[in-house]
């Protein structure tokens, strides 16, 4: 395969060795540098903040007295702040950073007026900060995933509008004739998010709908933040970085297109399965269940497409930090989505609803899938923006192993604990308090996993700060990989 691509490169005048093409890439990267770096910096800040709040919330579940006398650190507030910092702080900032860079790269065009994106970044993060402080002050709304007080959301929406419009303008300036699958997902995400966010704001906060419609809109929104905002960005990054680093084409255009449209068609129905057993018309829930099961199609299609692209290059996946994180994320996507489909079936949902099993599932999605892909993307993007190499492959190793083992421990522990909890809650002979006490060992395992993950996040932060501060050296020309390049038969690009 590689000899074929080398041959193609040797007869193609615009292929890799062409300095003009590379210089063009440099200009594109230059135009994205400041805005993307600012979004990355903000994302890192919220990542650390979100992890600290997560740990406090986790410890409180097995040691309720921990920080119990501080009013703004009670469980209800800490958990809410964790969720919002991670969703709107970490994941959205990281997603926007990666999306802007990918969009410019794939459109082969510069970002115009990057200053406006920096303004957007400031608005977005002031909004998130105001929202979190508002929640801590007790102004939070009691709507899950939309807890930010009403005075924070206009800032977010304005910032979002600037970013989204910029992404679409960049697409309109594209120099490439072909629209790559990552671009479909990015464009879709930038249209879908304002749709779900504004509908949810209008129907829940500004002009609240009545009765169970509220619950329906709430879960339609909360599920789609993951499904129509984070998932497309995560998949766009996976669809880009896997073939990019391997230097192979993505396996099948037909699978990509099937995966994209089936996701677009089914995902936004699926959120209703959160209301199984609730006072919602039976057919609505059944439709949600069916849509959740139909999600098997895009998931399997994406899994095959990624797997067939990677197949034969696993050694390279293992060596490249970017690929190891991204492929871990892609595998988690398959796992978490198939698990999600099964959880929407009433027979299993009967046991898993209102248990820690759901929490484990959510974290496999947001962390195992999305966050890991964002980490992998950063490992590729930052050397290009800073024109420096990662300072320490040891720190990258620490980051990978803590993050991956941490989320595996988290997921396995809470899934088992959640299933036991669900079985026992359905058994009327077991008093509720006994069920609660039985979950404690699993909650402790979650806190341990949280500490491991925190270590990884600190390692990653040190890596990034060190890389920004260290001087640029023209001598280093090879990427920082997991093993020294001399020991390798093939040199991957990063």
């Amino acid at each position: 395969m590689s000899s074929v691509s080398q041959f193609v490169a040797s007869v193609n005048p615009t292929a890799s060795a062409d300095v003009g093409v590379r210089a063009r890439l440099r200009e594109i990267d230059e135009s994205t540098r400041l805005p993307v770096l600012l979004f990355v910096g903000a994302a890192l800040f919220w990542l650390l903040g979100g992890t600290f709040f997560a740990l406090i919330a986790s410890i409180k579940l097995h040691h309720p007295d921990f920080l119990g006398e501080t009013e703004w650190l009670t469980f209800g507030i800490v958990r809410t702040v964790h969720l919002n910092t991670v969703i709107y702080g970490w994941a959205s900032n990281a997603g926007i950073a990666v999306a802007l860079w990918l969009m410019a790269r794939l459109c082969r065009t510069k970002l115009h007026h990057g200053g406006i994106l920096m303004v957007a970044m400031v608005f977005w993060n002031v909004g998130v900060l105001a929202g979190c402080l508002g929640i801590m002050a007790g102004d939070g709304l009691s709507i899950e995933w939309l807890e930010f007080p009403p005075y924070a959301t206009p800032l977010l929406f304005l910032a979002y509008a600037l970013t989204g419009v910029w992404c679409i303008i960049t697409f309109r300036f594209r120099q490439s004739e072909h629209t790559y699958v990552s671009q479909w997902f990015l464009l879709a995400a930038f249209f879908w998010f304002p749709w779900i966010y504004s509908v949810a704001q209008i129907m829940l906060v500004i002009e609240p709908a009545r009765g169970t419609i509220q619950a329906l809109v709430n879960w339609w929104f909360a599920h789609n933040v993951l499904g129509l905002w984070f998932t497309p960005i995560g998949l766009a990054a996976a669809y880009y970085f896997i073939p990019k680093v391997l230097g192979k084409p993505i396996h099948s255009y037909y699978l990509s297109i099937l995966g994209f449209w089936s996701l677009a068609l089914f995902y936004n129905w699926a959120g209703v399965h959160h209301l199984i057993g609730g006072p919602v018309p039976a057919w609505v829930i059944s439709a949600g269940t069916v849509a959740s099961v139909m999600m098997v199609i895009p998931v399997i299609v994406t899994a095959i497409n990624h797997h067939m692209t990677v197949v034969g290059s696993f050694a390279q996946v293992w060596r490249s930090p970017t690929l190891r994180f991204v492929v871990f994320g892609a595998m988690s996507y398959t796992l978490v989505s198939l698990q999600g489909s099964s959880m929407s079936l009433r027979t299993l949902n009967l046991h898993t609803h209102f248990t820690h099993y759901t929490v484990a599932h959510a974290h496999l999605g947001m962390y195992g899938f999305f966050t890991m892909i964002m980490f992998g993307s950063f490992y590729y993007i930052l050397p290009r923006l800073l024109q420096k190499e990662w300072p320490s492959s040891m720190l990258i190793s620490v980051h990978f192993w803590t993050a991956s083992l941490g989320i595996i421990l988290y997921f396995v522990g809470l899934s088992i604990g959640g299933l036991i909890q669900g079985m026992q809650m359905n058994n009327p002979d077991i008093p509720f308090l006994e069920v609660v006490a039985n979950t404690i060992p699993y909650l402790v395992s979650r806190s341990v996993a949280g500490i491991i993950i925190l270590v990884g996040h600190l390692a990653f932060t040190v890596s990034v700060v060190w890389m920004i501060l260290k001087p640029r050296s023209p001598q280093e020309t090879s990427p920082t990989l997991f093993r020294s390049p001399e020991a390798m038969p093939l040199r991957p690009s990063t």
């Binding site: 790269r105 794939l106 790559y180 993505i250 059944s286």
Partner: protein
């Protein structure tokens, strides 16, 4: 379209005044941008066909979806919250409820806090349920207590108690006849008690006989029904 390979159409970099062709091949720039020079081409797409087994998988998933939505649509009725309505097995005959199972569940939820897991109550505070005529004696008095509650002093097995028994009928927990009958039957047959079961019909009779009652009973009021 210009297809002449010797005179390619001007690329975007040719029009960019900031980009001199001399500078881009400069060695220093190449070194600084090693990250760019070593990276692979922007990704492209292959055109492998969709594997045939996917077709079977999709057919299976779609078939399942069709059957599921047909089975559990609840007749597409916006007021129907129970997906099983319309499924033959459920509508034909509601599953028979074992009063002892239902009674034990209700007792564990509502009664156990005062009367204890063994029905022994709390000495001097809450009366026991084992071996007392209040439980295994007259049906009507027991049902009246459960429906409307009991206040004031009573004597149980030689000890005097003065606590508030809450109502579980229309003025309290709003249990239906089946629930009242189940919990009454449960306490009459548990812990060595061995009195006949109480039917929901008996509860319904007492309920209609005491309709309009809004306060709890006292010992004196229940005296006529003690036997």
């Amino acid at each position: 379209m210009n297809d002449d390979p010797k005179n390619p159409p001007p690329g975007p970099e040719d029009n960019d005044p900031r980009l001199e062709q001399g500078a881009v091949s400069d060695e220093g720039i190449q070194k600084i941008h090693a990250q760019l020079l070593r990276e692979k081409e922007e990704p492209t797409e292959g055109f492998a066909p969709i594997p045939i087994f996917m077709l079977f998988l999709f057919s299976g998933v779609i078939f399942f979806a069709g059957v599921y939505i047909a089975q559990y649509s609840g007749g597409w009725d916006p007021l129907n919250y129970d997906e099983r309505v319309g499924v033959a097995a459920v509508t034909d005959a509601p599953a028979a409820v074992d009063p002892l199972v239902l009674g034990r569940r209700l007792y564990t939820q509502q009664c156990v806090a005062c009367h204890g897991a063994n029905g022994q109550g709390v000495a001097g505070v809450f009366p026991p349920l084992v071996g007392t005529s209040w439980v295994v004696g007259a049906e009507e008095r027991l049902i009246r207590v459960l429906l409307h509650g009991l206040v004031g002093e009573i004597e149980v097995l030689g000890n005097t108690y003065n606590a508030n028994m809450p109502a579980f009928g229309p003025n309290g927990a709003r249990w239906n006849d089946q629930q009242i009958a189940a919990v009454a039957t449960f306490i009459r047959q548990e812990w060595g008690n061995d009195a006949p079961a109480i039917d929901p019909e008996t509860v319904a009779e007492v309920r209609s006989a005491t309709a309009g009652r809004t306060s709890a009973w006292t010992n004196d009021e229940l005296e006529p029904y003690a036997n």
